[in-house]
């Protein structure tokens, strides 16, 4: 299904008509265009596939059908990891994904998804919208002919499902684990044999013993994928994914061709989606987590101890410092992100952190 869709020709002429006609043009047929949105997500996958569909529908609705967005799930038009290429070549006009899927293009893209011990969802949005993050992202994507828009966040993820308890750094050595992103590289350096099985194969590989541990997302999606049947120690939260971003990526020439109202619609649809997505993950994680003890009594929730976290933090520092040394643009992104991350850490020690701590006095004491 990699052929260029029959609608592409019509869409191109639609762009030209809209550009020529401007805002005053009547909403007649030649002003309508259809864009293809490819995604890296399985059809209707909770949180990600559903969120991508909501974004597509929002653009279609807000534009009254003048820009209709048609969604293609992973593999329907192009394989999931060819989404960036598809948007660059205008096979699709948009993609819904996460930036660190394209680290092969630039390692700087890690910072626009998430890095270990990095920014929370709302801090990341602050950096992107108000701290120069979007401008840096534009610079990273420019050579690939795409424009990135922040469009969602899973919030804090879980550390993963393990078939044994992890009480020391020594316990990690020789472990076979499915883990994504820079967290995988950190684990590898601590002696873990890291693999990256596709989502649909995580549960079977953990069940069969092909891996000893696996991380996927957080309670809502992990349990939907059945991981609680395959291993009983659930380590929460993830050290390596404090707030992974979802993105909408647009072909840059298509982006530039949009009339001001349609550009505003795509921009605000992505921003709205970022709020809706974080709320979706937050609500459903809270809800499903409250059911674990009753529905899956074998599950044992655990946390990594401070000695292990210290080793992970030290190794993360080595990994990101090496990353920043790769080229000038990665360093520029790294320096901007890290200066803000350090200030965020100091601020949150007197803001979000104590607020989350003090709620216990209401429920335990009052």
């Amino acid at each position: 299904m990699k052929r260029r869709d029959f609608l592409t020709g019509a869409a191109v002429s639609g762009v030209a008509a809209a550009a020529a006609g401007g805002l005053a043009a009547p909403a007649i047929a030649q002003d309508k265009q259809e864009w293809k949105l490819v995604t890296t997500w399985p059809k209707n996958a909770p949180g990600v596939g559903v969120n991508a569909q909501r974004f597509a529908d929002a653009v279609t609705e807000m534009s009254g059908g003048r820009l209709t967005v048609r969604l293609f799930s992973a593999g329907e038009l192009v394989p999931p990891f060819e989404c960036l290429d598809a948007v660059q070549s205008d096979v699709a006009q948009m993609a819904h994904a996460t930036p660190y899927y394209w680290v092969g293009k630039s390692p700087a893209l890690n910072y626009f998804s998430t890095i270990p011990f990095g920014l929370t969802a709302w801090e990341l949005a602050g950096w992107l919208y108000f701290g120069g993050g979007q401008e840096l992202w534009d610079e990273v994507y420019a050579p690939f002919g795409v424009k990135g828009l922040y469009a969602g966040n899973s919030g804090v993820q879980a550390g993963g499902w393990f078939n044994k308890e992890i009480n020391s750094v020594e316990d990690l050595k020789g472990l076979k684990m499915r883990i994504a992103g820079l967290g995988g590289e950190v684990m590898r350096r601590l002696g873990v044999a890291v693999t990256l099985t596709p989502p649909g194969e995580i549960m079977p590989s953990l069940m069969s013993g092909a891996v000893d541990a696996a991380e996927w997302v957080s309670p809502w999606l992990d349990i939907a994928f059945g991981l609680q049947k395959a291993a009983k120690y659930y380590y929460m939260p993830a050290f390596h994914e404090p707030g992974p971003a979802l993105e909408v990526m647009v072909n840059k020439a298509r982006w530039d061709s949009l009339s001001p109202d349609l550009k505003a619609i795509v921009t605000r649809a992505a921003q709205a989606s970022s709020a809706e997505s974080l709320a979706d993950f937050t609500y459903h994680n809270i809800d499903i987590y409250s059911q674990i003890a009753e529905k899956w009594p074998d599950v044992q929730v655990r946390s990594l101890n401070d000695d292990i976290l210290k080793a992970l933090a030290k190794t993360t520092r080595e990994v990101v410092d090496e990353l920043a040394a790769k080229d000038a643009l990665v360093k520029k992104v790294h320096d901007s992100y890290m200066a803000y991350n350090q200030k965020a850490w100091r601020y949150q020690n007197n803001a979000d952190l104590p607020v989350l701590q003090m709620r216990k006095w209401f429920f335990e004491n009052a």
Copy 2:
């Protein structure tokens, strides 16, 4: 400036034309309408006034001017605390405010802004979008002929500026303090003489000694209003405002009259605004907080100790339980919010809380 604007007549006929013409109608003059948005905020006030203007501009831009939103700051068209009445009577078609300004209409509205020891910004969005919160809010607003949309959040607020250290519950007794919302009632029961001076008078009243302590928002706005000049002990964070919401309120008949595309535009503009606003407060609080030690060396950041927090939590429980006993609808809102708040607390003990704690290992140790 309370007169009905000359544009109101034109706007009404615009609604009728849009309803009759539907989506296929050309974007000519009779399809255009202008709505007035009144706000409770001073003109261009950072975070709130600016956010309201961005929302107004987003609707205007996305609709290509078919729905132009004209903003009136506090007092320009109606006094700030008459915004709900103005929208109900269609003097303005929309307002930008926060629900707990209207607790005189229903005490249930506290839960849609914030309550002490309550939900964070992203948890609140989860409850509103996915946990039945919006439906309850619709029920609370229905008698007043308005529709509420979640449109922003300041995130965690600060506890306030004090002219002395607070080391025990005893130290609160006899204190004169400016404090808003249910937090004020909690403080009152612990012996504080509570006042609610308007924003512009907070700094002078603290400077003159008319009050001994005052809370406003968080570092970004507090410092913009000059509170650091008036008292040196800055207590962070607030026990009483873990994530206060901003709202867009729409006249219900106007809301019902919107074509599907314009309804989607207003809905998504509010949702986008919620993400942008939280990012705005988060970024600027982090940034300004990092400058305190150098720029305002006299400021001493403090936290309330656990004994005081326990007393505040116990009194909060009494206050909200009395609130819930007021009527059946308040109880319904209270029960829904509190069941979720308790589950959120348990989940966050293994999610956001340890993620915020573990970042220290990266910056202190690695």
